[in-house]
Amino acid sequence: MKIEFYLNSHLVVVDVDPMQSLLHTLRGTMSHTATKEGCGEGECGACSVLFNDRLVNACMMPISQVQGGDVMTLEGLRQTEKGQCVINALLEAKGVQCGFCTPGMVLALYALLEADPNPTELAIRTAISGNLCRCTGYGMIVEAAKIAAEKGEGLW
């Protein structure tokens, strides 16, 4: 089945099984590998992307639902000023250890700051609670959110 959607602001068309997940489409069909698969069942958040400006798990979304919509992955986000702000904040806070959860975390932090440019500690922890990290213990990722909020003042 042919499905059209915007990927990082570019119109793309894929011809795939309509029940194939968005994650599989991104990684397998389109070789966009920044988005990671950690569990394949919507638990870990490593595959977080934005769909119509909302944070979703790409492994849980059939590609047919994406028809006509807007998908943003780290490949697109890293080219924006806001994306770079979040990435730099994560690197500055040393919130990247093994890095496997990081692409999902970047998207989650971006989504948080878009909604709330000055989040509290609790708001940050709530926003990333669907993104599991086994390395950092989360503290330095929380710090990254604060750095991105401060350094990106006016951006969000």
């Binding site: 093994c98 890095g99 496997f100 922890r125 609670s129 213990g137 989360y138």
Partner: protein
């Protein structure tokens, strides 16, 4: 030569880093394992499907070399042949271009077993039903250790307290599952993948193929924690066999459910303590017996056992001790390495027991622990003099101050039954970790070697086999060399850990990367600095020699069991819902002596990650074997690890105590950070609920059961903690008062 991380973690953060599943290979075939569905039995007969063109099945008969994973003993076959010992054991590797067809072929394989009675628990293993799984007694390894005179010690005791403490399985949940791609290149069988120890993988491929034309390359690795120490061998051996035959690349990447079901876990352990206390309230003797569930093959269990034995008394100076440990064969996945490698089990059980002994005696737990601390005059459990300065008292004071422990402890201990549904508690744990390999492995397993290559442009490349699996080694190694050479970090690069390029500096395990490999990198850099010639290519090789003070006798278990020991203190604060048994972790503080941190921010990442992993271990990470010999928890929805909302901001600090044989004074620290959290958490929950707990994970269910037993039958408190006393302390409730 490929290099990594000149801009630390930039590739990971931007999504540019290529983990194994992100890589593209021409003509790639998909591989899947056909696994045993029988926990224990003989393979009676096999029916294999007719294979379409381009599809292949590989098994034990296809192995040109030895059909084994050469981990420690030659006991774990690469492909099961005559017998199976656990559900999930690899029997065949099925390979082909279309993964759906491969899956269909897997369904068409039929193996008939002659089943035998399986043993999943230590008790079932001891029962030897249908004969032994291993040797004639199911004991895969055992060892005993004596200090002082145990009989004379107990003769001085006025009180004897016995207790059983236990720990469960723990699953690593590295975010990236196990995966590898194997391919032919330039006459060699090459494997790239997610791994901690490329030379282990290299060696395994060489053994199964019967020649050394092999090469192992580490990809960016999405976490390991010990789970990618020996386990990548399980993937590498069958892949190497298949690739050598087919001369085509094959990929094998586990789905999460397969990873949870079949990869190694932390050993469940049961410790039994018999502790003699004299009339002054001083521990004079301890008899410690413990059993570890090793799973179907030895794997690394013997060394895990050794670490538990040699550090069984934790940070305490007990004059008369006997320790005996057994590793039992069972019909479960072989248990293996996991951050701490036997120490988290030991530290939880010993800290919990000492805490209970103090309470049983009516002593303040903190003061009681402090009274028994090792001192400069002490000898270790294995008879060695204490090397360097001990800073246990300083660490303790720091962590108590940071957490406001005493005020809170007194306040929370005064909570009584009339108090509300939510009760607070605070708990402390003190702990140690032996850095580097246990015993003599640094001499017998590997002679760690590193190289520095200086180019004519003055840039220096580090060649070592140690891997950055998230712990930041790619920065700390470069910092060690850059600081020693007094050069900017940008001029120091690190080669990709590739056995075609790097020398064998040993595995990335046992907190040895800084202590051992970092140390020889520092020495190599000092040599290079001395002999530096501008504009010329230069090469320096350095091999590890242990310091003179380090003496160890593997036969008697006497001497310095480790090159060095690091120490830590944790305090955890909780609020327990008395109706549901749920414990919210509201505070966590940590102080460590790791000599001197190479990069304190990187080490803060280890502190927080290790402590949170330990808090999960103590509180929510439940993994149980069912009657069918499989894990009841099959997904990340079932096996719950802490989220950002389950843990607080962690307050941490270091005590500066430079170690003379570490780079810039550093000792190991990565594993240490997992040793104390579970005990501190359980002590905090006990403080809140007023009922002892002796096993982890202390889930809400377990807390509710403990509370229910207490309200039903107040005198049962003691039995719940399985603390038996005699003499003056006998019968005293071990409550927080």
């Amino acid at each position: 030569m490929d290099t990594v991380n000149t801009h630390f973690k930039w590739e990971e953060a931007t999504g540019a880093a290529k983990y194994i599943a992100d890589r593209h290979y021409e003509g790639l075939l998909e591989g899947r394992f056909y696994r045993s569905s029988c926990p224990r039995g003989r393979i009676k007969s096999v029916t294999l499907p007719t294979l379409p063109d381009g599809y292949h099945i590989f098994g034990a008969d296809d192995v040109p070399g030895q059909n084994v994973l050469p981990i420690v003993e030659i006991d774990w076959p690469a492909f099961a042949d005559q017998e199976v010992r656990f559900v999930g054991q690899v029997i065949y590797l099925v390979v082909g271009p279309d993964p759906d067809v491969v899956d269909e072929l897997l369904n068409e394989i039929d193996v008939e077993y002659a089943p035998l009675e399986p043993a999943y628990t230590i008790e079932q293993s001891k029962a030897l039903k249908d004969g032994a799984i291993h040797a004639d007694d199911n004991v895969l390894d055992t060892h005993m250790l004596h200090k002082g005179d145990i009989e004379a010690g107990f003769a001085q005791a006025a009180t004897i307290i016995e207790e059983t403490c236990s720990t469960g399985y723990q699953e690593h949940i590295y975010l990236e599952t196990q995966g590898a791609v194997c391919y032919p290149q330039d006459g060699k069988v090459v494997l790239e993948g997610s791994m901690q120890c490329p030379w282990y993988v290299h060696h395994t491929m060489a053994v199964v193929l019967g020649h050394d034309n092999v090469r192992a390359i580490q990809c960016p690795t999405g976490g390991g924690f010990g789970g990618k120490e020996d386990f990548p061998d399980v993937l590498a051996a069958p892949l190497a066999v298949a690739v050598e035959k087919l001369q085509q690349p094959i990929r094998l990447i586990f789905e999460r459910g397969e990873d949870i079901a079949t990869t190694s876990k932390r050993h469940p352990v049961t410790f039994h303590y018999k502790t003699g206390v004299d009339a002054d309230g001083k521990i004079v003797a301890m008899d410690i017996k413990f059993d570890v569930n090793a799973g179907a093959y030895l794997s690394l269990s013997g060394i895990v056992l050794q670490r538990s034995i040699t550090t069984a008394t934790n940070v305490y100076d007990i004059p008369n001790v006997r320790v005996e440990g057994h590793a039992w064969a069972t019909n479960t996945v072989p248990t293996g390495a996991f951050r701490g490698f036997g120490s988290p089990q030991n530290c939880f059980c010993m800290e919990t027991h000492i805490h209970h002994v103090a309470k049983q005696l009516g002593a303040d737990p903190v003061a009681f622990k402090q009274r028994h601390f090792l001192t400069a005059e002490s000898h270790s459990l294995t008879g060695a003099e204490i090397f360097g300065d001990l800073v246990l008292d300083e660490m303790l004071h720091k962590v108590l101050d940071m957490s406001d422990y005493h005020r809170k402890f007194n306040e929370y201990t005064r909570q009584d039954g009339s108090q509300p549904e939510r009760r607070k508690g605070i708990g402390l744990a003190i702990f140690q970790h032996g850095c580097g390999f246990a015993g003599d492995l640094e001499d017998t397993l590997v002679r760690a070697k590193v190289k520095l290559l200086k180019g004519s442009d003055g840039n220096v490349q580090i060649l070592a086999s140690n891997t950055d699996i998230g712990q930041g080694l790619s920065l700390t190694f470069r910092k060690i060399v850059a600081d020693t050479l007094d050069k900017p970090l940008e001029e120091i690069q690190l080669a990709v850990p590739d056995t075609g390029i790097v020398p064998d500096s040993g595995p990335t395990v046992a907190s040895r990367s800084i202590l051992i490999v970092g140390y020889i990198l520092e020495k190599a850099a000092k040599k290079l600095k001395k002999s530096w010639v501008e504009g010329e290519d230069q090469e320096i090789t350095e091999v590890y020699c242990k310091p003179d003070y380090h003496q160890w006798d593997q036969n008697t278990y006497q001497g310095n069991a480790y090159q060095a020991t690091s120490y830590g203190a944790n305090v955890v604060e909780v609020e327990v819902d008395m109706a549901t048994g749920e414990a919210d972790i509201t505070g966590a503080w940590a102080v460590y002596d790791i000599g001197r941190a190479i990069d304190s921010t990187i080490f803060r990442g280890q502190i927080e990650g290790g402590l949170v992993q330990a808090l999960g271990y103590g509180s929510c990470e439940k993994l149980e074997i069912t009657q069918d010999g499989v894990f009841a928890q099959r997904s990340m929805a079932d096996y719950v690890i802490p989220t950002a909302l389950d843990v607080p901001a962690i307050g941490s600090d270091l005590v500066d105590n430079p170690y003379p044989y570490g780079p810039n004074g550093a000792k190991g620290g990565g594993e240490l950070t997992h040793n104390g959290g579970a005990a501190a958490f359980v002590a905090a929950v006990e403080n809140a609920i007023g009922v002892p707990l002796s096993s982890i994970p202390a889930t809400p269910e377990k807390v509710c059961e403990a509370l229910a037993r207490r309200s039903d039958e107040p005198s049962a408190q003691q039995r719940e903690g399985q603390v038996k006393g005699s003499g003056p302390g006998n019968g005293a409730p071990i409550d927080e008062d």
